[in-house]
Subunit: 130 residues, 2 copies
DNA sequence: TTATAAATGTTATATTATTACACAGCGTTA
DNA sequence: TAACGCTGTGTAATAATATAACATTTATAA
């Protein structure tokens, strides 16, 4: 099997849900919401999430154990994510900053690590919460 | 009570253990190891971990749910961490790169977020695992 | 068509983290 | 001294997050 072009039923259901939310969703809240669509078990959710993360349709916010849709339609950057997180209202925004991305992409440590991915999370207070 | 200078018994026990390991430890593995010292419950571990994170003695590797000691004796950077993580052997190293840190510290988005913390995790393969 | 990779459905279980409550120790200050 | 606030402790219970194992089905490739 080559690269899968079309999403499967479960993957579509779960991606739809995540895309409708502009904020990250947690796995068990997703599970709760898709039970009416016949998805009954955590594993079904986690499998779809894994796949969607892998193909870059969604990203995991590691510090929150939550998943957010990628708005960048041509997301080549499943492996290069930057987020801004408000610690008061928990609002999360994906950041696309060319200069910063470049800097991170080009970063080399002094140990000969071969990087293929990074995830950066900024924390603070958003305008509304300052 | 002012800022606490000295660590408490539980905090010391747990920091000692983490400092002895050059790799991240998980909360329940810590719990297992400190049972012989009279720490019996998860909460006792998590409370110590929270405190140690807060004062910058250790850092949490978010993508691994694990905790590593900060080697930087004067760590003013509890709130500005960069890690390199090998996805094969799971070796984790804290990175201190002045230029990159500066770049991250100075980063401003276009939404008026007021940042006070960031965490960056690089993933890839270390020299041994390439 | 046959082999194989990917996805599904289900049950059970493992792992990570928090809530709730009672109490002890220390420093401040009334 | 006594009252108070703050931080930490100990314990039990439970919540939240994630994976293992197994049987089956579907999609693609040769
Ligand atoms: Zn994205
Ligand atoms: Zn906010
Ligand atoms: Zn550090
Ligand atoms: Zn390695």
């Amino acid at each position: 099997m080559q690269k899968q072009e079309t999403l499967t039923k479960n993957q579509k259901i779960i991606l739809d849900l995540i895309e409708k939310s502009d904020q990250p969703l947690k796995a068990y809240s997703i599970l709760f919401d898709v039970k009416k669509k016949g998805i009954n078990a955590p594993l079904q959710v986690y499998r779809a999430l894994d796949k969607l993360v892998k193909i870059g349709k969604i990203h995991k916010i590691e510090s929150r154990n939550a998943f957010i849709a990628c708005k960048n339609s041509k997301c080549q950057i499943a492996n290069a994510t930057i987020f801004s997180i408000c610690e008061s209202c928990e609002d999360v925004t994906e950041i696309h900053d060319h200069k910063l991305s470049e800097h991170l992409r080009d970063f080399k440590d002094n140990k000969g690590m071969k990087y293929n991915k990074y995830n950066l999370e900024f924390f603070g207070l958003c305008k509304k919460c300052v």
